[in-house]
Assembly symmetry: none
Homo-oligomer: 208 residues x 4
């Protein structure tokens, strides 16, 4: 596809005024992404919504893609922060409980800002998967590490494949919910189904 140039911010603001500007820009980008999709994102529009001039935008971001990336990263950091507790606790629990708790936590986290969540997933791929793939890979690594520590209790032998399957599946169902696709499982229902699927996939029948 297109080997996108450089999506890193141009400079990190230190003065409070500048920080506010950058914040407003990222915020505005997220808003537009949610309201109108990637299609509605334009540098002029972002600047306008942020109440800032285009010039300021380009002082901190090299392109509109960089701003979208900033939104993605900010969101990813939120998610990671929110999940770290759940992971820490799950390590202490017996597997069936751990799975239950983790699924629940993940679903809850993604219900925080569902529209942004969905916008990111459905729109950002267009910019080239290359930029979101690392996050997916990171998630796979985390799950993989978790599975290995419990391998003796699991039905699966290939932990890596299993980790990949789990991450992919969980992600997909989370995002699928907001696609307006019937029958649009409710939060509870989704938790139940996901937990069931994962427990049966990972654990021997007796322990579930």
């Amino acid at each position: 596809m297109v080997p996108k140039n450089d999506l890193r911010p141009r400079k990190v603001p230190t003065q409070p005024r500048a920080i506010a500007t950058v914040d407003a820009l990222v915020e505005a980008t997220a808003r537009i992404l949610v309201d109108d999709g990637l299609h509605g994102v334009s540098t002029n529009r972002i600047a306008e919504v942020a109440g800032v001039s285009v010039g300021s935008l380009y002082q901190y971001f090299p392109s509109k893609e960089a701003l979208v990336m900033a939104v993605v990263e900010r969101h990813a950091n939120n998610v990671v922060t929110l999940l770290s507790d759940a992971f820490a606790q799950a390590l202490q629990e017996p597997l069936p409980v751990a799975i239950d708790q983790l699924v629940s936590a993940i679903v809850d986290v993604h219900d925080q800002q569902p529209e942004l969540q969905h916008a990111i997933v459905s729109q950002v791929m267009t910019l080239g998967v290359h930029h979101t793939a690392p996050m997916h890979a990171r998630a796979v690594d985390v799950v993989h590490a978790f599975l290995i520590t419990r391998q003796e209790d699991l039905l699966v032998d290939d932990c890596r494949s299993a980790a990949w399957m789990l991450v992919t599946t969980v992600m997909a169902t989370l995002h699928g919910r907001h696609m307006g696709v019937a029958p649009d499982l409710g939060t509870t229902s989704l938790k139940v189904q996901l937990t069931a699927m994962i427990q049966r996939y990972l654990l021997p029948p007796s322990s579930a």
Copy 2:
């Protein structure tokens, strides 16, 4: 998001030459989609690649989006056609075998034109989910119908939710493969994992 105007073709070509033109246009659109992503798709470019004038393009399609939609539909039809046999046969088999065969068939079908497959999934969502959602719904319906006929053999009680879970999961894993995400399961491995997951999800332990 954006309530897209009208994406249906403007008129159905009857003369052979006209049919060839329309074909070339859709083909060209697919090619560009695969090679450069949605970003590279422009009406002028399509016309050029198709070896046709822009004017002709607008004689048959009201907009660029309509052409992309035509690509999607053509692909969907291909998939449906290829799968119908597998489904017909699976109905005759005992459930575990049926699942095995269906998973295998679906994976194989999606391996037919993986780049186009991926391009469609990763790029087309931007145009608004509204247009791809119906296909997803259709798939859910088919699976739902299938599950209901076998309900007594299944572990699940809510067939609708289960159908949704299955379609979403299968789709996600199929598409995930082409995202360059580690560890990139091979065809066989994917079939094994998917079959395992689904069988355990649907069937009581004894029958698997």
Copy 3:
């Protein structure tokens, strides 16, 4: 400096309407160049002056530089055409007369469109010498060829250096005239001085 991308026209117009458009564009560019200098040349302005839309401009030229280049080339062709006669005739004459005639012809040619002439020389260099250098080189070659055929009558031994000196000198004086520099030699005066300088430079005292 800057390795300018590609300054060649995008496509050659064949339809009369298109030819008129391209003509108007080049003409407009020349006008602006003369009136306001390179500084005043902008694609929007060119299109406006040409009575054409910007889109049309970009249909035929990849950039504003390409248009400036087209102006330069058109002018160069004019000059070459106008001079070829003079050169043909000068070959028949004894050297002092030939020099006289050639100098006279060149000065006259450059007096045709002095402002354009000046604009080109004073403005176009900024775009990188690379693009005008070939013309200079061509001129040097022509003069070199001429000198060699008469070498036995000349005072100079290094014809190549002499050719370079002559071209450079003649060019400079021609362009210097329009720079508003005192005392701004008149046409006749310039011819006299140039002829004198060149004849004494090239010919032994007796033959001048």
Copy 4:
């Protein structure tokens, strides 16, 4: 062309720190001019290269053009300083020797900073000749004065025209050298040719 507003520096720095700032700014401008041409010169860039803030730049210079002008003037002063000795001495010598010495001195001086020299000549004209013309005129005046004192030994009658011819010719050949135009005379060769041309132009055959 464009009647440029006011290119004089805004205020003369007196404090050492301020002097250093101004110096750095002019120096930076020259560097950029040489490296990237006028095209690369922007106030922000100048400030950055000079290690100074844009604000400071505007404290001393009213515009970007003013800075470029400062570069030109600084260079011109250098040249004048370096040449004054040569001129003083040349006045004592017999004409052929004087010409020889002067040509040699001028060529040497221009070989000092050839890139800056070339950058100034090829780039600065775009800003409007008006600003460089005075320097040319001053040069013509100096040469004119010189010629008049020796008029009885010269072949020429119109000293003013001759002075103009000489300055224009010498300048052109000096600058032409750096234009990458074949055959790119070497320093010695250029001196020889220039001396020859000028001596024969100015002096009667017997005295050369």
